[in-house]
């Protein structure tokens, strides 16, 4: 994640780079999210102007998808699979323990800003569960202790 602040200039450059596509909004939001770790509020009117759509429409799309955050996350993002195949091998218990030990809840960030925990419904690692993902890196056959140790780093 870049340390540069989301200036109008930086945002406009990202918007322009995707604008040639057919239906550019999702690739555009992904590129902003990747650059800043969230979709800054300042981006919404700029996108609306560039694509000639309403701000409400941009907001509607941003808020529809689980991937797009509107506030920065913690230093680590931990996604724990809640889907059935992981539940079959203790995934629900694992998630409860991780949340309890970190003292947080789903979609929230720990008080020290270290980690944001989010649910994910399937990482496609269903024969090697329980599965999780830390900062985009998939992990399989994990325990609560291993996940906590990973995000403590």
């Amino acid at each position: 994640m870049a340390d540069t602040p989301p200036t109008a200039r930086a945002l406009s450059a990202l918007i322009e780079a995707q604008q040639h596509r057919e239906g550019p909004l999702l690739p555009l939001l992904h590129s902003i999210h990747e650059a800043f770790g969230h979709i800054p509020e300042a981006a919404v009117p700029l996108i609306a102007d560039a694509l000639n759509i309403g701000r409400a429409e941009v907001h509607g799309v941003v808020s529809f998808y689980h991937d797009f955050r509107t506030k920065p996350a913690g230093r680590h993002v931990l996604k724990i699979c809640r889907a059935e195949a992981c539940q079959a091998v203790g995934g629900a218990r694992l998630a409860e323990r991780v949340l309890a030990q970190l003292g947080t809840t789903w979609h929230a960030t720990t008080e020290n800003g270290a980690v944001t925990v989010e649910p994910v419904y399937c990482l496609g690692l269903c024969a090697n569960g329980p599965a999780a993902m830390i900062d985009g890196r998939p992990l399989a056959g994990v325990t609560a202790e291993e996940l906590i140790a990973e995000v403590a780093q």
Partner: protein, 503 residues
């Protein structure tokens, strides 16, 4: 010395990269010239990370490999599993769609061609006018879950009049217990590209999109590179393999919405809108991406097309049972001793898959239930395990095969909790367009809670499920009753407090 090590996301998630580093270090320390080929997964998930070494021209398997096993491996002290393809889980398969996965280096176009790749596209380009009929003759049906005949869909798009047409690959594999699309895209990406090119030639489309879920970073990386390589090699772009046909593909990333696996929601998402389901008709085949005729097919459907042309439609159709022709890459997951990808002709009884091939549960406890077809699929009880794996056969048994994921649960599973989860999932992922799904799922969670607490509200749940089934626009709301009602009907003891209260 030449070794093959899996680079599949599951293997990497279990430490395959650390194993690769240790292998290189240890070989260097011992003065051994080592070539490590990173390949897709063989599909034997319980052996991952899987390492193979060649002996007398045959690849032998070792696994699960840990970094700590590397020294023992070089010393010859590590016990292996013998020739990889003789392991019963592998030997019992009929691999067509997955023929190359695990055998070839995913991004090597040379290895792809050496193992039959591009033969299908060449055959198709030789007689473009016959492509659609051959796909119809193969009996291939949509592998994403709906099971609609692929050739008929292509015919509709081919016959539609329009200035532009599109091929859209649905790679939004969100069903729990499924990972075949991921394995294929990571292990043999050119087969998908080849299949999409054949589809493009068949219907007269020059642009394709792959809508790939963001939860699959490895598949995204592999496919991105595969598209570049294909373009450089003339497999995409103007003049496909020297023919007059043009076709190119753009990769698009989803954003974590399960409902975008539904084809009309996917099209809206691709257009840059909320992933809200559209009413059908009009069919996407006539009015799809930006209102143009569009083929929307699952990864497996498209990736199976090349082998149909390579081996002939008749060969493909000769496998399977009833109206389920060909092979299905079945994904065995959850609490199993031996999970992974098992491709076989349709027709194997569920019992064979669960007890024999998967070897029962990982925990060693009795199997209680098997959910087939993802979060919208029914829970099967052991007395239904004789159901043969096929579209109509599972429908008749009150379920569906979906994308062919099977998730096994042992006797510690609480089916009331699973029924509750089905509603909870529907509530979390509903696109919000239709009321039964948006509101009904929330009421469903509350009503199951009342049932668990001892209130006799079974009738309410049955009513609610009927409303969802009959009144929802798409399979998310329409099929959520499958897991709910199957859990309620086949595992009534788990809802016992309600029973006691009623007495």
């Amino acid at each position: 010395m030449k070794v093959w090590l899996s680079c599949d996301a599951a293997a990497r998630a279990l430490g395959a990269d650390e194993v690769a580093d240790r292998l290189a270090e240890e070989a260097a320390a011992r003065g051994i010239a080592l070539e490590i080929k990173r390949v897709g997964a063989r599909g034997m998930a319980w052996l991952e990370p899987l390492l193979e070494v060649e002996r007398d021209g045959v690849r032998h398997a070792f696994g699960p490999m840990r970094a700590g096993d590397v020294a023992a491996f070089f010393d010859g002290r590590l016990e292996g599993h013998g020739p990889t393809e003789d392991i019963p889980f592998f030997a019992r398969q009929t691999r067509l769609t997955f023929a190359r996965v695990g055998r070839i280096v995913p991004l090597s176009l040379d290895e792809y061609e050496a193992h039959g790749g591009l033969a299908g596209l060449r055959a198709a380009l030789a007689e473009p006018g016959r492509i659609v009929q051959q796909v119809i003759d193969s009996g291939l049906r949509g592998r994403g879950g709906a099971g609609f005949p692929t050739g008929i869909k292509w015919q509709t798009v081919a016959e539609a009049e329009a200035d532009r047409k599109y091929i859209v690959c649905n790679a939004d594999e969100g069903d729990s217990g499924t990972f075949a699309d991921r394995m294929l895209m990571e292990g043999d990406p050119f087969s998908l590209i080849e299949g999409m090119a054949i589809a493009g030639v068949a219907v007269g489309a020059t642009t394709g999109y792959i809508y790939l879920r963001s939860e699959y970073p490895d598949a995204i990386a592999t496919l991105t590179r595969a598209l570049d390589i294909a373009r450089e090699a003339g497999l995409l772009g103007q003049g496909l393999l020297g023919s007059p046909h043009a076709f190119d593909i753009e990769l698009r990333m989803g954003a974590g919405a399960y409902v975008c696996g539904e084809e009309t929601a996917l099209l809206n998402s691709l257009e840059g809108k909320r992933g809200v389901v559209r009413a059908k008709p009009p069919l996407p085949a006539l009015k799809g991406f930006f209102g143009k005729p569009t083929v929307v097919n699952n990864v497996l459907s498209l990736a199976t097309v090349p082998v149909i042309f390579e081996k002939g439609a008749e060969h493909y159709a000769s496998l399977g049972i009833g109206r389920s022709r060909g092979t299905m890459p079945i994904q065995i997951a959850g609490n199993v001793a031996r999970g992974g990808l098992f491709e076989a002709g349709f027709g194997l009884p569920l019992r064979t898959l669960v007890e024999d091939i998967a070897g029962g549960t990982r925990s060693g406890r009795p199997v209680k239930a098997v959910q087939v077809g993802g979060p919208l699929g029914a829970y099967f009880a052991p007395d239904q395990f004789d159901t043969p794996f096929g579209y109509e056969e599972f429908d008749a048994a009150g379920g569906l095969i979906g994308h062919a994921g099977i998730v096994v649960f042992d006797d510690s599973a609480d089916m009331a909790r699973m029924a509750r989860f089905a509603f909870e999932f529907c509530a979390a992922e509903s696109c919000g367009k239709c009321t039964p799904c948006r509101i009904g799922s929330v009421r469903g969670v509350e009503t199951i809670d009342r049932l668990i607490a001892g209130e006799d509200v079974r009738g309410l749940i049955e009513d609610l499920c009927e409303t969802l089934r009959e009144g929802s626009l798409c399979a998310l709301g329409g099929f959520t009753p499958y897991p709910v009602m199957s859990a309620l009907e086949r595992f009534p003891d788990d809802f016992a407090p309600a029973k006691e209260a009623a007495q």
